[in-house]
Symmetry: C2
Subunit: 483 residues, 2 copies
């Protein structure tokens, strides 16, 4: 494709996306296709000869769009939001257009240095301590996801806990990692990948009301494991759990970590970016004093198209120690001088996109003020919804909702717990099948609850109000059909 | 940013990229900035208020562009190419515009099903066996890189070798992985990440002429390790090594793997896509019979903007066994039915972009014919260059150059080996500092050689000819200044 062909088709694609975003409410939020339907509509073999780009766009609309679940739809309330925004899309387009690799400083110095600048900017915006800045001993790096961030943090923690023996000799004794039942599953996945196995993961109790980690149980487990000759490698505290946005008590957890010399990783994948608002800065209490590493995802709630997770560490030496290997074909003068950062040593893959461009575009377009406004809108709408749920006799509200997520349980008088849970799931299926919203569920105290996460960039008050009205109406209609 | 603002700025960005690509030859290939220069030109703190998008574009040109090493420049001959192309950039733009997550089938069925279709297409194009297709027991999946692909393959191999104990209990005994001195460093990185340590990596001898793995030495090492109570988990054969594009003898290696029940991973990161040409189909000899997994990167030589590596496995069960965890908040009817693929279980991260769109766009725009033409152009230009190098008395050609990479050593009469190697590196620095090309080096038999990799999408015969003329001229000029 020549530059002039690119210019022409590029503008077609921009128009396609602008039209898609302008008309997104015309689509059902959750795709209604059956398994295999999209696949069967596509040719089983690739074309022998090239086709016009218009065919791609036409098949996208005709075949693929029905199979899309619209994450940018204002009535997308499932999981957590995965915000895209104009400046992020365009920043990422510039990254694709430049097509550079940022594996080493020398392979595109601006790719590394802009990343250093924007992760330092973000650290400042959310109030992370100075020692997490790249001009101190620590530093930040963009990862594809919080899953990869926690794996990388665990590898650094193991490097420190083992004095480098894990990288050299492999898992040579019993290393343990501490989570709760509410910690994201990526922590267990990281422990499995790193060779600790599921058995290396200790599950600390939570407070049954707040679902936050119980620091006294953590202390007990740490002491027991040390007595049993295990080596506690990392504790993961979560700020804003995936299930209910519970906030673990980082200061008390950090104190226990410090006493045992254990690496504290703070997983604030969803909630961390909210600390950009001074009134939510408490989310990071204890981080400055105690955290060895910290992760949050601008690609969730900060308008930056996936993938853009950021991991900071207070000491980059164990990170690089765990992950650096320098074959001859990657040697270069800048690396040898020690005066540059080579981000390949801060991540699992070697190659890396110029992802800093999209975060840079977002921060510049919205400014700190605009980003705060976006977070505040989500928090306010969620608070309004929670107020309504809490006063409705047909529902039970989960009282903890500090951010954009509201968890609640429809009540089904006359049904036992198991039947009520089935009715709740059935209600969710009906709502999602209607196409007018998408929400997901979790369990609290072994009971099914619905999760409604506000925070898609396009969501306005009317979308939340409409959703709540429909939920109430559908619950009544379903209740009427139950025995 | 509203859809209409996106439409306006999107077209500005498309114009910016079209102009950049049309004028790419006006830039020095390798950025000439000093460490810290870009960083110092950027504000230390983020803006409080939003700025117009034009400021982003203007700073991109003014501040960042001098810090870019232009991977799409026709005179970029370093590392391996990392091809971008118009249809790939636009496919990826569509992915950003849709902004969907493909972690589960249900979170966007088209994201999963198009991926299944295009990796099956690619398997067909490069002649991979039927059992690697997703409609058999195996399947393909897009990874960010061959590094992640080999990590995931290793985790599957460990799962099989340990009967699932590694995922449950962690590294419980000595597992070993087999590579050569020429294998990509990502294999050692994967072994370290997976808890085997560098000590778990066995280095098999290579044939000193071809630099390909010696299968008889592999057999010896396997037998010795088994006798010493280690568990051989995976052998990595490379088709097209990073250093010199050496091709390991997959059939003989596969036979040894089969006898010992060891997982065979074939790393064809760079070369695999070349098998799209029937005359290069020999690259995959032995894969159909013996490989348990196979990886190649369309983002290297197949015109698909990074990141797009593809990993296939003949049996997806151990892959999913190693990586699957299902928390309540991800449960859904489609997953429970077992009738869908959830690609989150085939990779390290949970979240995933709709990367299939860019590979789909590329295959449709170019067609199989257009892709073959692109590969053939690179191979032909490299062969022409090798012919000239081989007949020039000032240079020694590395005779193995089956693909787009040519390795050669300038001769420095009168200098001993160490001084000659320094002169070669100095020559490379002079060439790269000139801005008119970028090439890198490696070592063969402990001597420094230059690597010139042809394959950037924009490269024509004149660029290779100009580079070769300049290399000859600079060698003579430098030789004249030496004692």
């Amino acid at each position: 494709m020549t530059p002039e062909e690119f210019r022409r088709h590029g503008k077609q694609v921009v128009d396609w996306i602008a039209d898609y975003l302008a008309g997104i409410e015309t689509h059902p939020v959750l795709s209604q296709v059956k398994p295999g339907e999209i696949r069967q509509a596509l040719p089983a073999s690739p074309p022998e000869r090239g086709e016009p780009f218009e065919s791609v766009l036409s098949d996208l609309g005709r075949i693929l769009l029905p199979g899309i679940t619209h994450w940018q739809h204002p009535s997308f309330f499932a999981y957590f939001p995965s915000n895209a925004s104009g400046p992020a899309i365009l920043g990422d387009l510039l990254s694709s257009g430049l097509g550079v690799q940022g594996m080493l400083w020398v392979t595109s110095p601006a790719c590394t240095e802009l990343e250093t600048v924007v992760v330092d900017w973000l650290a400042e915006l959310i109030g992370l301590p100075e020692r997490f800045r790249t001009d101190a001993a620590g530093g930040g790096v963009i990862q594809d996801s919080a899953s990869s961030a926690c794996l990388v943090a665990l590898l650094a923690a193991l490097h420190r806990a083992s004095g480098g023996r894990v990288a050299a000799e492999g898992i040579d004794r019993r290393y343990t990692v501490y989570v709760t039942s509410q910690t994201h599953s990526s922590l267990e996945k990281a422990a499995r990948i790193a060779g600790l196995g599921a058995a290396g993961v200790r599950v600390v109790d939570v407070d049954p009301r707040t679902l936050a980690m119980d620091p006294s149980h953590l202390r007990r487990l740490l002491a027991e494991d040390v007595a049993a000759d295990a080596v506690p490698a990392m504790v993961c505290a979560t700020v804003g759990t995936t299930s209910t946005t519970a906030v673990d008590p980082v200061p008390a957890i950090g104190q226990a970590c410090r006493e045992h010399g254990v690496w504290l990783h703070v997983d604030a994948a969803y909630a961390g970016v909210a600390a950009i608002c001074p009134e939510l800065r408490w989310l990071n209490d204890g981080v400055a004093e105690y955290a060895d590493s910290y992760a949050t995802n601008p690609h969730k709630w900060l308008l930056t198209t996936f993938d853009c997770g950021v991991l900071w560490t207070a000491d980059r030496a164990p990170l690089v120690g765990a992950l650096s290997i320098l074959p001859e074909y990657l040697r270069n003068a800048a690396t040898s001088s020690g005066s540059v950062v080579d981000y390949r040593d801060w991540q699992v893959p070697l190659g890396r996109r110029f992802r800093a461009l999209k975060l840079w575009s977002v921060i510049r377009w919205y400014g700190a003020e605009g980003l705060r406004e976006h977070i505040r809108k989500g928090v306010a709408l969620a608070a309004e919804l929670a107020e309504q749920v809490g006063t409705d006799p047909g529902f039970e509200l989960h009282e903890q909702h500090p951010l954009g997520l509201v968890c609640f349980r429809p009540l089904w008088p006359g049904l036992d717990a198991a039947a009520a849970d089935r009715a709740t799931l059935r209600l969710m299926e009906l709502l999602n099948a209607s196409g007018s919203m998408y929400l997901t569920h979790t369990k609290i105290a072994d009971r099914v609850v619905l999760r409604l996460a506000v925070g898609a960039a396009a969501t306005e008050r009317r979308h939340v109000e409409q959703a709540w009205a429909q939920i109430r109406w559908e619950r009544q209609a379903l209740a009427a059909t139950l025995p």
